[in-house]
């Protein structure tokens, strides 16, 4: 059973969680080029590596950030948005 640690509810089976994709900062639409905007809208980074991802513990609807190595499928740490210190 795969486990994921919710920063609020603790370690639970991954079946209690949903994955909502990599955190992708939005470029300023007024300042960026069309290519940069198109890349933001249409392209996703499929290369394996350590990524910051949105996850949600569905029973409590707790959204948080997981730093996950997508090559080794290893979760380095999880924290609530704004707690990245």
């Amino acid at each position: 059973m795969k486990l994921m640690t919710c920063p609020v509810n603790g370690t639970r089976p991954v079946s209690e969680f949903v994955y909502w994709g990599e955190i992708r900062p939005m470029p300023d639409p007024d300042a960026c080029s069309d290519d940069e905007w198109a890349a933001y809208v249409f392209n996703r980074n499929g290369a394996p590596g350590v990524k910051k991802e949105w996850w949600c513990h569905t029973p409590s609807n707790t959204w948080f950030i997981a730093e996950r190595d997508t090559e080794k499928d290893f979760v380095l740490r999880t924290y609530l948005y704004g707690d990245d210190r």
Binding site: M1, N9, R12, P13, S15, E16, H57, T58, P59, S60
Partner: protein, 212 residues
């Protein structure tokens, strides 16, 4: 003044199995499911507590507003209090609370009659509410839920997933032993109830009515 105005979210799945009906808090509920209810309740009884009145509030001002109404609030998220009159006050998040009356209680009605204060937002609650009783409940929980309830220091509240349904669960002590209370979204309630009743059947338990 005992007219039926409410219907349990579990009505459709309970109706084929019910033997006697009664009315509690203006909701039509099953009084008995058949013979041997006492034995089922002692082993693994699955009871319906959806008829209890409940209210939810959330917002930065929710705790202070509840305190001003004479309702104490738990100090930590994922914890609960039971007031002297039996009212349950559960803290579901940093600023979200669920208040459930004891049978016959009027606290939530009084709460909802008040205008909400500043930064207090009422949350309508249409939960299916279950009560699990009996000696085989730890085994039932092991079969239906990945969360290990034996690690829970009673009294405690936990949000987890049971047979695939997101539930809020808490454990209470009673004269008959530990009782587990569950709340889930009402639309999932029938599936959760039927599945738990089926698993409880293998453990010598099953559905119990409110008069068991």
């Amino acid at each position: 003044m005992n007219a039926v105005l409410r219907i349990s979210p579990l009505f459709d799945v309970q109706a084929p199995l019910a033997r006697d009906w009664t009315t509690r808090e203006r909701m039509q509920v099953v009084a008995r499911f058949g013979a041997d209810e006492a034995a089922r309740r002692a082993n693994a009884g699955i009871g319906d507590r959806s008829f209890l009145q409940r209210a939810g509030v959330k917002g930065a001002g929710a705790a202070a507003w509840l305190n001003a109404q004479g309702i104490d609030t738990p100090a930590q998220p994922n914890s609960f209090l039971q007031l002297a009159d039996g009212t349950l006050v559960a803290r579901l998040g940093l600023t979200e609370y669920l208040i459930e009356d004891a049978p016959g209680g009027t606290r939530t009605a009084a709460l909802m009659a008040q205008p909400p204060g500043e930064r207090v937002y009422p949350v309508p609650r249409f939960d299916a509410a279950l009560e699990l009783t009996g000696t085989q409940i730890p085994e039932l929980l092991r079969q239906t839920c990945a969360f290990d309830f034996s690690t829970l220091a009673a009294p405690a509240l936990v949000m987890t997933s049971m047979v695939g349904v997101g539930v809020t669960a808490l454990t209470l002590d009673s004269a008959e032993g530990p009782v587990v209370r569950l709340w889930c979204d009402g639309t999932w309630g029938g599936y959760l109830w039927l599945t738990l009743v089926e698993v409880a059947g293998d453990l010598g338990g099953g559905a119990v009515g409110v008069e068991a």
